[in-house]
């Protein structure tokens, strides 16, 4: 029984590890003019949630959203020249999201994307499990900018919508409208 529990725990941990980005973008970080690297998971995320005020309206809403989250991964790089990253770098990130359960819901591109001349790209992926959204990932690339966001956990789109207009989150269109 104990062994079965340990195995189940290991399998679950493996599942989470597989779900999270493991890609190393250090080579891009080194060349970036400005970079933001945020990795919040488990304990740190809960700790951050505890420090969000329940009285400030924006933080209170964020607290509600954060309560169901398991991890947040953000890498955002701004370069002082073009051509620092290529389509291959983006493809390596993309490959990590192409796991079972993940679905690309938006792909918007502009400009030449062949070879190294990657211009503008925006992709949004959502992970669905049992009819619930359990993950959202964004890959956004411009000539001199690359941003990767992955949020795992119970993502209540209604609650996320509640953050519209705060923290720069846009008004989200309601499904079916």
């Amino acid at each position: 029984m104990r062994i079965a529990l340990m195995l189940a725990t290991l399998l679950c941990a493996g599942g989470v590890a597989r779900a999270q980005f493991t890609i190393n973008l250090d080579h891009l970080a080194k060349q970036a003019k400005e970079s933001v690297e945020i990795t919040l998971d488990g304990e740190l995320l809960r700790l951050a949630g505890r420090f969000l005020s329940s009285t400030k309206p924006d933080e209170a809403k964020a607290k509600e959203v954060v309560s169901g989250l398991k991890s947040i991964y953000v890498r955002s790089f701004e370069f002082d020249r073009t051509g620092v990253f290529s389509e291959a770098d983006v493809e390596a990130i993309r490959k990590q999201i192409q796991a079972p359960g993940w679905t690309r819901i938006v792909r918007a591109t502009s400009g030449p994307r062949k070879g190294r001349d990657l211009n503008e790209l925006a992709e949004v992926y959502v992970r669905q499990e049992g009819g619930k959204s359990t993950g959202i990932a964004i890959i956004a690339a411009e000539a001199q900018e690359l941003t990767v966001v992955q949020i795992l956990g119970d993502i209540d789109l209604d609650k996320l919508e509640g953050l519209s207009g705060q923290f720069g989150i846009p008004k989200l269109p309601k499904a079916g409208k």
Binding site: V36, I38, L40, L44, L45, L47, A48, G49, R50, F51, L52, A62, V65, V66, I72, V74, S76, R104, I105, V106, R107, A108, T109, S110, E120, A122, V124, I138, A140, T147, V149, I151, L163, Q166, F167, G168, I169, P170, L172
Partner: protein, 99 residues
């Protein structure tokens, strides 16, 4: 001279302490020592309590700093996510959507 010698002898005569004098003296010394020991114990307790308070305070402050940092990172992550979603929304409306 004889009177003087007698007086001196009388003055220097060995006098036995009253019964229980040694016990009473030792008990008093012991009581004083016990008070001193208790004082030392309280001093140690005070020092340990102060050290513990210092360590706990330090840990709490460290936790507070970690929490504040995590909160800042969380808010920045939400900000970046929000900005990216806004930009995606703009791109979707302004550019051709493949899917």
């Amino acid at each position: 001279m004889r009177d003087f010698e007698r007086d001196l002898k009388e003055a220097l005569r060995r006098v036995e302490p009253p019964a229980g004098f040694v016990e009473r003296t030792l008990a008093r010394v012991e009581a004083r020592e016990a008070v001193r020991r208790r004082g030392r114990v309280w001093q140690y307790c005070g020092a340990i309590a102060a050290s513990l308070a210092l360590v706990l305070g330090g840990l709490q402050y460290q936790q507070y700093r970690r929490g504040q940092e995590a909160k800042e990172q969380l808010l920045m992550a939400l900000e970046i996510t929000g900005t990216q979603l806004t930009q995606v929304q703009h791109k979707v409306t302004s550019m051709g959507m493949e899917k």
